[in-house]
Symmetry: C2
Subunit: 197 residues, 2 copies
Amino acid sequence: MIEFWFDFSSPYGFFGSLEVEDVARRHGRRVVWRPFMLGAVFKTTGMRPFTDIPLRGDYSIRDWKRIARMKGIPFALPPGHPINPVHPARLFYWLESRAPDQAVDFARLAYRAIFQEGADLREPEVAAAIATRAGADRTEALAALSAPEWKDRFRAATDEAVARQVFGSPFFIVDGEPFWGWDRLPMLDRWIASGGW
Amino acid sequence: MIEFWFDFSSPYGFFGSLEVEDVARRHGRRVVWRPFMLGAVFKTTGMRPFTDIPLRGDYSIRDWKRIARMKGIPFALPPGHPINPVHPARLFYWLESRAPDQAVDFARLAYRAIFQEGADLREPEVAAAIATRAGADRTEALAALSAPEWKDRFRAATDEAVARQVFGSPFFIVDGEPFWGWDRLPMLDRWIASGGW
């Protein structure tokens, strides 16, 4: 199993989402997708969104565009970046409770909508529309967005992230070993292949 | 040319120092070693040493040890980590003014002393002893440590780092393109090989 912790507002999380399943497949592992709210973890660490940090902010934007060009994919920051990820995250956990594969499809579609289509998933209607693309019912999706059950589920996932020392996005845990960042995927791959070192 | 900006207190800078010349050699490029004071740049960015950040600190220590094991080399944090890098940095620029190759030898020896031998380079005598290993005269090295000329030279290098938006260690600049972090070396390698993208 590979735990894949991510925030829907995280560009590096988006890039990780495009690669983690390939890494897992090479080793016959399953990926457990775990959206959480990075902003809540920042309260523990004192860290900030990259784009709020002088110098590092400009570099991050350049790095994201450079990674996207390297991968040959479109990329653009969404309106209001970094967005509050609460809507896609609640929909993810709602879908996961019914059909885990559908939830993963939704996560991919949501990430693509955010970072490739300029969609504003802060809007419930927009988030629900993405859920319909993954096969969900629009009215049910809108209801899930305001149901206490999925608010609580997402909050519990974020609490678990803090408890597990997940302090960034993406963050991978494999056999108890933590790997932070899209750029740690090659090391993670090697770690699994060699059984650690 | 590859500009290699680093702080002598930076473990990732140390790992970068072990690899950057190999990358340069593959492409027939020269490395310009540029020690600077990361702590001064933190005043601009508001960033902090990794080990001061909750959760991320523990992860960083784990990551450094993991990288060292992967590379099959010894590694330990020095007393007082992160140390003030002023002594090795001044000696570097003093040596560079006389013999650039000797300065690079010194930088390697200093990094090794700090992260593999537990040497405390905050002590002028200890820093000067490393300079003698690189072929310098001990008395001259001690004099250089307190000479205004090399204090100013190091300060100027740090000012240049801020002006060039160098906000972390290691930080590489190739043909105007910035790469932050030991873990960006594979991308830098690919960037040079393909002439950018």
